[in-house]
Symmetry: C2
Subunit: 166 residues, 2 copies
Amino acid sequence: MADLKTETPPHLAEPSLREGIELLFYAYRYFTSDPDEILARYGFGRAHHRVLHFVGGNPDITVAELLVILSITKQSLARVLGTLVREKYIDQQPGARDRRQRRLRLTEKGAALEAELSRVQQGRVARAYRAAGPEAVAGCWDVLAGLIDPADREAILRSIRQGKSA
Amino acid sequence: MADLKTETPPHLAEPSLREGIELLFYAYRYFTSDPDEILARYGFGRAHHRVLHFVGGNPDITVAELLVILSITKQSLARVLGTLVREKYIDQQPGARDRRQRRLRLTEKGAALEAELSRVQQGRVARAYRAAGPEAVAGCWDVLAGLIDPADREAILRSIRQGKSA
DNA sequence: AAGATATGTCAACATGGCTGACCTAAAAAC
DNA sequence: GTTTTTAGGTCAGCCATGTTGACATATCTT
């Protein structure tokens, strides 16, 4: 017999956990599907999207800050960022106080692509929000936030809220 | 002035959509982080995890059914599945009615690894559920389900519910 | 017997991670 | 003012995991 005191409540039972895990797997696939399609037309991948997204949301971000957000190495970033800079989607300017820094911003061209990607991705999310209703959305945010390591949670939520993803 | 009739309700405003998108991005990263760590110790990757997961949840699944779930090519699947079969994490048996099929099941060794991976992933999800509460979980599921293309939604939800992911 | 289907396999390629080593320019510390 | 640290870039190579295309085999269906 299960120990009643520590027994898993119904909504935490294993089947429900498995269902939630699979749902997140499928949902994430669709979540990235629309941008992926557009990116392919530009010869870009998901990595380019992430850079465009976070540079767009954090104008004048430094490379180091971007690396923290993306949690990748500078060599990995260099490949996609280099392309975006060469093809003039992103502009680099030396930092005002620290001229070693390359502060990143979207060019007009970059902002246009980012907007195109945002539009379809936000469209999908907006439809999901609308269908589920505001309380569901609030609940969803709570659950998703709960998946983040407690040690990192507050910093990440802060950065999301400010649109300052550093 | 915005047209009141089609004005985006507050919870659908652009900033909130952007926040939701970023939250999903971060949450998914943590969602996969614990299994990834374990898999690395076995020389496996995320692709192996997916196969172990869906074979575990769908004993005697066929290769064709697994391909539909994973949405990858059979060549991609062959690489990871081949390894898992060779290293005896997964067992193949000809179908009873159709002997062309290779029905897949976890071996004991495979079930043990799958359980180890499930344990940490379910642990993280369970903590998030517990912190957010049952209503939030229900809302979360609604939103995530809403991200799935309507054309595929019912089939996917059915497959999740049955634990028959085909 | 012929054709369709389930699966496997070979070869080649792309993306996007990684490590390690090394370079420059600018800031900070001594 | 020299040294050290820091921000960033770059080269080379490796790995995981996706792709396409072509082809082989066994088995089921017609």
